[in-house]
């Protein structure tokens, strides 16, 4: 199947299948198994979880192929893996390993500060982070099949994910009430193609699923993001940096299915032990923020 339209159909289609679920960061096969047993809809393979990247410093890169392959052979759910922003060679390796989704991620150290990967050159679908509608539409114009908020990964502080979700939704709403002749100048301001802006104005949503990520650490955080319009959630450090990862993983999965029922969320949240300790975004220096990448 070489047809670009069909490729987009199956790739956006896979993103649709992952809706109303939880995608969990894992660094080895044991964690991947725990995630799958807890009801994760997919796992994200990476070398270190974001909070360890934040604490350890250094250059964060694509995970070791041996780790990714071990994870792939351990679970039956989709396996995603991260490449550095603009590192199309890492993306080529991930595609050669037949991962199901590539996350071109600001959590890793960027390889290119000017350009993102040309995602139309790949068969494997990509997810990209964004903070606002302009970033979201630029990534979609480059071929992303799924968008997620950047949030501020590795903090356990959900405030940036909330900020990004609210802003994108507000900017989408604004498009739906603009006159056609106003959309053109808006497209120019957003620095994105006009046809994409017109499409969003018509649909009242992005043309690909929009998930929440970055700082989600509790069932209530997941509920908050779902109520703000996220179509699924990514949980990074929030699971394997909590006191009881198995329980936390299960709880966040159930929380997404029952996100709008506070009484159920009370039961789901009870006795989970300590969530990840985390760090408030307000206490992070400008140069250490990941979402500005």
């Amino acid at each position: 199947m070489d047809n670009k339209k069909d490729l987009m159909t199956v790739n956006v289609g896979l993103a649709e299948m992952l809706r109303n679920g939880v995608i969990m960061d894992v660094t080895n096969a044991e964690q991947a198994k725990i995630a799958e047993d807890a009801g994760a809809v997919a796992v994200m393979a990476l070398e270190r979880v974001p909070s360890d990247i934040r604490a350890g410093g250094g250059v964060a890169r694509m995970a070791d192929p041996a780790v990714i392959e071990k994870i792939k052979s351990t679970v039956t759910i989709p396996v995603m893996a991260k490449c550095r922003i603009g590192h199309f060679a890492e993306a080529q390796l991930l595609e050669a390993m037949e991962v199901d989704f590539i996350d071109e991620s600001e959590v890793l150290t960027p390889a290119d500060y000017e350009n993102h990967v040309d995602k139309f050159q790949f068969k494997v679908p990509f997810v990209c982070g964004c903070r606002n509608l302009s970033e979201a539409l630029r990534r979609i114009a480059e071929g992303a099949a799924m968008i997620r908020t950047k949030g501020e990964a590795g903090t356990g502080d959900v405030s940036e994910a909330v900020r990004h979700l609210r802003l994108i939704n507000k900017q989408i709403k604004e498009l739906t009430v603009l006159r056609k002749d106003e959309l053109s100048s808006r497209a120019k301001e957003l620095a994105v193609p006009l046809d994409l802006v017109m499409k969003v104005a018509e649909l009242g949503k992005l043309p690909v699923p929009n998930f929440a990520a970055g700082g989600i650490a509790t069932p209530a955080d997941a509920s908050l993001c779902m109520q703000l319009g996220a179509e699924s959630v990514f949980v990074g450090s929030g699971i394997f940096k909590s006191e009881t990862p198995e329980k936390m993983a299960k709880a966040i999965v159930t929380a997404v299915a029952r996100f709008d029922h506070p009484k159920d969320l009370v039961e789901i949240s009870r006795g989970l032990g300590a969530s990840m300790k985390g760090i408030s975004v307000a206490n992070i220096g400008e140069e250490e923020l990941l979402h500005t990448r």
Partner: protein, 197 residues
């Protein structure tokens, strides 16, 4: 007077259930999310959508919906797409998925391989005297490996059966909710009876 259209429930635990609801809405069929055991009492037909069958298995157990679902699929019209097909089958090659045995077929989960092998295939479907061409969207699709006696194959893609029915159960390995065509939704909501043979 026009025949009343049955209320169609869509199992709304995980997956692309909103896509099914959008299509039902576009053909004036009332679609309802089924998120708890008591929701089964409000619907006359049920769609089990695409998504991950492992996740749906987990949530059906955790939310204590298994018994109600099993009793519903034993008599009422039900249609499973992709993950839904796996749940309705009588056997699957994956121990983390609990199948309902509602249709006598065996399937291989992700039987065509990983996402790079997902594909779109054109087909012509004849149903109730209508012929319509449609694109079959396969995403990490299940592959039917055994078709029991009493199961009718309604459509094949290559050598593989991809749309099958038995008594009150309809299953598809592909995703009609991702194409523009509402043919199958219309058929399931308005025509499909509980006595397919």
């Amino acid at each position: 007077m026009k025949d009343r259209v049955p209320v169609v429930g869509v199992l709304a635990l995980q997956g692309d259930y909103q896509k099914h609801l959008e299509i039902l809405d576009s053909i004036d069929v009332r679609g309802v999310e089924v998120r708890l055991a008591e929701d089964f009492d409000r619907v006359e037909r049920l769609i089990i959508p695409g998504g991950e069958s492992t996740v749906m298995t987990e949530l059906l157990g955790r939310l204590r919906m298994e018994d109600k679902l099993a009793s519903f699929v034993s008599k009422q019209p039900v249609w499973g797409t992709c993950a839904g097909m796996i749940l309705l089958a009588s056997g699957v090659n994956d121990r983390s998925v609990k199948t309902l045995g509602a249709i006598d077929i065996a399937v291989d989960r992700n039987g065509y391989g990983r996402q790079v092998f997902s594909t779109v295939a054109p087909a012509t479907l004849a149903l109730n005297g209508h012929r319509e061409s449609l694109d079959l969207v396969f995403i990490r699709a299940p592959r039917v490996t055994r078709v029991g006696e009493g199961v009718t194959t309604l459509l094949k893609c290559g050598d593989d059966p991809v749309l099958l029915a038995q008594n009150n159960v309809l299953v598809s390995a592909f995703h009609p909710e991702l194409t523009g065509s509402a043919l199958l939704h219309d058929y399931f909501a308005r025509k499909f009876a509980a006595d397919f043979s």
